[in-house]
Symmetry: C2
Subunit: 321 residues, 2 copies
């Protein structure tokens, strides 16, 4: 089969012929129609992960055909029952096992779910990793309730956008942050109530004034020196979900706010099969369409990696087989 | 009645005659036999709290007599039902309302509980604020289960010691940290498995080697630059409860550990009447005796404040009426 292969760290991927995957007794072969990029793929290509081996076919997100049916793949391998943390056997599709940037992929049959009928293959491929991550952090970890006011930082990334869409569908009042006015505008078009430029000095004070208080749930993947500002925006009893750390170490958090307001700071990554199923239910019920930034053909996968590295995308970068 | 009164910020307290308290229809008058100091009292005396007014009788902890019965006082006012955060009317006994450093105190009848029969007045006075705070952070917030390995930082303080005693009674394997070998030794005498000097370089690496892994629950009141080391000692799914911030802003937390290990950092302060009752049940069942560092007569209250300021105490500093 044809695949986009990482043959050397920090080098462009190579579109090449590789052996067809051989399924184990618990696996099935999905004939992929579309895949999508995640930051994870870029970081692996840049050598920023432990346990990287080459050559490897990357890719955690995929949609395709299994026995004539349209399916999507849950990329959380060996984590099926909802639990506080995944079992030791947990891994993410696309390292160490071969992933979805190929014509075929072998995955456990438990990871196969029917593709939502209202989505194209490209839209469906944009859903799995962002969807399961957003669902778990928003609902399982932060226990976001219908009346909660929600803040989602760094809108534009796949998980942030999916969290935004899921929370809006769930009935929440959703606000976003970004360094880009254009991204905030797009989030408002999706149904967010408004947004704040975190690049502005004391933006959190303006945010608090504008919403008339604080937030009950905050979803962040930046961490860094700005994390303390998010804590200042937390209401009493608020939950701050953190699923990434693009800005490095968490600094400058005032502990007195954390304990006086009984705030919970909750790490979350990926999710279980049960959470994937619940996420799909919400997507089907509300006909949520994941935001696709752009679609490239698989042989042009390096264009997609460069776009992801630029950080300019709004939504998922998709590869078409 | 006689009382120890704060008449001016940053000045010694004055032992003097003040008016007897006048109870509202929902309040009762407790004739106090013993009271105990908390850091809160010291910080108020030093002017480090909002809303301080003088003259004021400080003191949150007390045990005494009500209608011929021995009673202790729950210092959490107007927070009765267990909830994610206290109601707006919540206050702590001893500011803005007059506290327990006096012969009598007026408190809501809902805040009165029978004194554990195995305790003296001095021991009972050492229990309330530390007990309710430790119970909530350990069991309600961190959901510590019987098999969990628990780390309690800064052993010697009232809440840390009570958390240590409650967790040991609950059946946990408990470890402690301190800057003092003598305090660690005393904690081991109470039933802790061992302890670590957090003043030693890379102490957390030695701790991890010694226990053969990490901790499921960590109880901290320091925050500061060392908080990141506690995060490094967290097991997957661990809960880190934080009820204080003596070392200032939380810095240096690696977000990747927080989200990969699905860690929860949980702010907690005081607790509800329901939690106070559950704490008392555990204390009665296991005949837990709060650690009393020293007892001073009420007129010598300033000695007690100086001892608290020195940080040399191990256990509660008690005042006797």
């Amino acid at each position: 089969m044809k695949a986009l292969q990482l043959t050397k760290i920090k080098q462009p991927l190579v579109f090449t012929e590789v052996s067809d995957p051989k399924p184990s007794s618990k696996q099935v072969i999905v004939h992929l129609k579309a895949a999508a990029l995640n930051h994870r793929d870029l970081w692996i290509q840049q050598g920023q992960y432990a346990g990287i081996h080459v050559p490897i076919v990357l890719g955690s997100d995929g949609a395709g055909i299994l026995e004539g049916e349209k399916v999507i793949i849950n990329p959380s391998l060996h984590w099926y029952k909802q639990s506080p943390f995944p079992p030791k056997s947990f891994k993410i599709l696309g390292l160490p096992d071969a992933g979805t940037f190929a014509q075929q992929v072998a995955v456990p049959s438990k990871n196969i779910f029917p593709m939502p009928a209202h989505l194209s293959f490209e839209e469906a491929a944009a859903l799995p990793l962002a969807g399961i991550t957003a669902y778990r952090v928003l609902f399982s970890r932060c226990r976001t309730k219908k009346k909660d006011r929600v803040l989602i930082s760094g809108i534009g990334g796949g998980v942030a956008l999916m969290a935004c869409q899921l929370a809006i569908a769930h009935g929440n009042e959703v606000w976003v942050t970004s360094s880009s006015k254009a991204k905030i505008k797009k989030a408002v078009e999706l149904g967010a109530k408004g947004g704040f430029l975190y690049t502005e000095k004391d933006w959190y004070k303006k945010a608090s004034e504008r919403v008339g208080g604080g937030f009950d749930a905050i979803i962040d993947s930046a961490a860094g020196d700005g994390f303390g500002d998010l804590v200042k925006l937390a209401n009493s009893g608020a939950r701050i979900g953190i699923y990434g750390g693009t800005r490095g170490k968490i600094n400058g958090v005032i502990p007195q706010i954390v304990f006086w307001k009984q705030i919970s700071i909750l790490g979350s990554t990926m999710g279980s099969g049960q959470e994937f199923a619940k996420m799909l239910q919400l997507v089907n019920q509300h006909k949520i369409v994941p935001v696709v930034d752009s679609v490239n053909d698989l042989p042009q996968g390096n264009l997609a990696f460069r776009k992801m590295a630029s950080g300019k995308q709004f939504g998922k970068i998709v590869l078409k087989m």
